[in-house]
């Protein structure tokens, strides 16, 4: 906790609370990528996502005096972005996670094709499109978790601080999402073969 208290986070927060010129803009610039990745991957509508990012940072500005340095500023802001997007989806009655786990996905565990060329598969536009469509079809929470894990390179304990989910639950979501995506890939490779 001491390292958080003496970190650049502290300087930035103090500067914003003291209303120093340019401080809030610096904070937004620092964390707008994280906010965009979480919100856009969850809501998938660029206009809504921009508005929700704006709401997130306005809330950050309003509540920054409540930040107690018991987590990194990145996690604190990420949590506000995540809950803002979550509320938006709940208002629109969009399911956040899949209703029930599919046993079909687990059938893949012992099933793996052969003769896979990674570089050739990467170069194949259709495979890439297929994969991106599969990522988009995942439930919002799984999309957000994968984005935090891969794009933001956030650790599972840190994701737990952002989402409020238990580490075991996050692991389970990541596992099932990746297994499902591999299933999509296997189906695509079966078609292409």
């Amino acid at each position: 906790m001491d390292d958080i208290r003496s970190s650049p986070d502290r300087e930035l927060v103090d500067a914003v609370l003291a209303a120093r010129p340019g401080a809030f803009e610096r904070l937004v610039r620092e964390y707008q990528g994280l906010c965009w990745h979480i919100v856009q991957r969850m809501v998938r509508n660029p206009e809504d996502a921009r508005e929700l990012c704006q709401d997130t940072f306005l809330r950050v500005h309003r509540c920054l005096h409540q930040y107690r340095y018991d987590s990194a500023l990145k996690s604190w802001i990420g949590r506000i972005a995540y809950t803002t997007a979550l509320r938006h989806l709940q208002r629109k009655r969009i399911p956040l996670v899949e209703s029930a786990g599919s046993d079909d996905d687990y059938a893949l565990l012992d099933n793996i094709g052969s003769g896979f060329d990674l570089e050739a598969a990467c170069a194949d536009q259709q495979t890439a499109q297929h994969l991106h469509a599969a990522i988009e079809s995942l439930p919002p929470v799984q999309r957000a978790l994968l984005t935090l894990y891969y794009l933001e390179e956030t650790s599972i304990p840190e994701i737990a601080r952002i989402t409020g989910l238990a580490s075991g639950t996050i692991k389970s979501h990541l596992f099932r999402a990746r297994l499902r995506l591999r299933g999509t890939l296997e189906a695509r490779l079966g078609v292409a073969a």
Binding site: L58, W76, L151, L179, R182
Partner: protein, 158 residues
Amino acid sequence: MNHQIDDHIPAFDDPAHEREWLAQERAMRRERLQLDPVGDDAREQRYRLLARALREPLADNLPADFAEQLAARVAAAPARVVDTGFERVLTLALGIALLLGAIMVSLLYGSTWLAAILTILPAPQPPAGRWLLAFAACIGGSWLLGAWHQHGYGRRSG
């Protein structure tokens, strides 16, 4: 907003799930480090393809001047009123309740206490005793007002 988070990541009960999870993790790490995929098995190569897709930047983005615009909007807004209204009302209500309680208790038992105090104090002339009490009340009142003002100022500027 801050939760107690358990950093421990439990293993899956099913060994086959755990093996698959470890393959997913190994592929992600190797892709992150951009290691040569030649030595990877078919399963890991598939997960490395997923990793590449998941690490691609999103197509849309926030406007380039997003931070600038937002900062200007915040700066143009009226001075921030810290949202501690509920806390202040609660503190005030508790303060009033405490004060009323103190007054009631003083009215009920004050004469007994005063008599008890006066018996242990050296006996001054009656007018001097009253002046001493008035002086103590003034000091106490000033201290309370000062503490209250400082508390209110700290809240507004915090």
